[in-house]
């Protein structure tokens, strides 16, 4: 018991130091990650799977991508005064102090704000992605998605040396994460109406095939990134950062188990028209969404409060 408590000591100390302002920053960061990744992942899903127009509509990508991007933009802008407020001691007066706002904007955070903001604005082109301007709108959306992903590499530990390697690892990791997270809502939607029939079943099967190497890449890039940042595995058990990372990996394990259940049991059952297969698959995807929300919350806590 005492050994377990002493192992958890760095995390307990960190939790004791985390004030209300920091929790607000964590929640806003988690919501930003969720909205930005849903928007970017929605673009990727549209490119890879949802070519038949009916399926594109059923997946609900057209409102999903630009609305998620709009919310992400609002949350991104909210992070700016929240950071300034934290730097000034956690007050609203500090949040709107011109000197602190300028300090936050001047440097990596400002670059990230401009790059992610431009990308999220470009994602509004998705409103016209199935109309006459389909080609340019799709290209603008892809460019927007790339800029948003790139913006994630501009702030934090991944900007240390060797910069290019860490940035590429983070881009690979985030691209795979966005692909997975962005697919959950469209997959949930198309697995509902029975009239979508074969095309929807085909997309669900194809997603399982495509997702396997993507998720493998996500894990390899994530573990490699963690190893580079932690400079070994020992800090996993001896630092608050390592302990939260372990928790995140445990939730990821549950998520992988659900993904495996979907691929090898629930999707084949749906294809075989088994009774209640649709409901079971939708419930499983719903649970995946909850676990993803928990992972994003842990990630936001990790990046906001600790360092490796």
């Amino acid at each position: 018991m005492s050994t377990a408590l002493s192992l958890l000591q760095p995390l307990l100390e960190l939790l004791a130091q985390t004030d209300g302002w920091t929790w607000l920053r964590v929640l806003v960061a988690a919501a930003f990650y969720a909205c930005a990744l849903v928007a970017v992942g929605g673009v990727l899903f549209g490119q890879v799977f949802a070519h038949p127009t009916g399926l594109h509509r059923a997946a609900g990508l057209r409102p999903l991508v630009p609305v998620a991007a709009g919310l992400a933009l609002a949350l991104l802008l909210l992070q700016w005064p929240l950071q300034a407020g934290f730097l000034g001691g956690g007050t609203w007066a500090a949040a709107f102090d011109p000197g602190l706002l300028a300090l936050v904007f001047d440097g990596a955070t400002g670059q990230r704000l401009l790059l992610a903001g431009s990308g999220l604005l470009l994602l509004q082109a998705f409103w016209i992605v199935s109309g006459r301007w389909r080609g340019p709108a799709a290209a603008a959306s892809l460019l927007g998605a790339a800029l948003v992903l790139l913006a994630f590499t501009l702030v934090g530990h991944s900007t240390g040396a060797p910069r290019a390697l860490l940035a590429v690892l983070l881009l690979l990791h985030l691209g795979a994460v966005a692909f997975w997270i962005g697919a959950l809502i469209p997959l949930y939607r198309i697995s509902g109406p029975p009239q979508l029939g074969e095309p929807a079943a085909h997309v669900l099967q194809r997603f399982g095939l495509v997702a396997a190497p993507v998720v493998a890449g996500l894990i390899v890039a994530g573990l490699w990134l963690a190893w580079r940042l932690l400079e070994g595995w020992s800090p996993l058990l001896h630092s608050a950062y390592g302990l939260v990372l372990l928790l995140k990996l445990a939730v990821l394990g549950l998520l992988l188990a659900l993904a495996g259940l979907n691929r090898w049991l629930l999707v084949p059952a749906l294809v075989a028209h088994a009774p209640r297969a649709r409901q079971r698959l939708r419930a499983s995807i719903g649970c995946e969404m909850l676990l993803v929300a928990l992972i994003l919350l842990l990630t936001a806590f990790l990046t906001t409060t600790t360092s490796p």
């Binding site: 001691g89 290209a139 900007t159 290019a164 881009l171």
Partner: protein, 122 residues
């Protein structure tokens, strides 16, 4: 038209690669390296100097010392310039008791940093 379509397809990847390679290798993450008095230490009599130092430049935005009588007035506050060491003194000698140094700052990589240091005056 086909050439335009190809250009539009590769533009995001090309721009991403350009930004990735063109961003200067200037951002470095800063970590606190030590403090005076040291974290968890007990000192006899009021310390003349209270300091904190980092392995990379940090723009300190808050440096607050509090003790048994509340917030301690200091001779100098942080100037928000990038520095690797910040040093100040209590405006009046510190009485016996447990003190907390709370600082916040912005590292060059854009990461917001914060820490608390404790020491006891005997």
């Amino acid at each position: 038209m086909n050439r335009l379509k190809t250009l539009l397809k590769i533009a995001p990847a090309a721009l991403a690669l350009h930004l990735l390679l063109a961003t200067p290798h200037l951002h470095a993450h800063a970590q606190p390296e030590g403090s005076l008095p040291a974290h968890g230490s007990t000192v006899t009599g009021s310390p003349n100097r209270i300091a904190v130092w980092f392995d990379h430049p940090m723009r300190l935005t808050l440096f607050e010392v509090s003790g048994p009588r509340g917030v301690v007035p200091l001779t100098q506050g942080p100037g928000r310039d990038a520095l690797t060491r910040f040093e100040t003194s209590p405006a009046a000698p510190l009485g016996p008791g447990r003190y907390t140094v709370r600082w916040r700052g912005l590292a060059a990589d854009g990461h917001v940093m914060a820490d608390e240091i404790y020491f006891t005056v005997r």
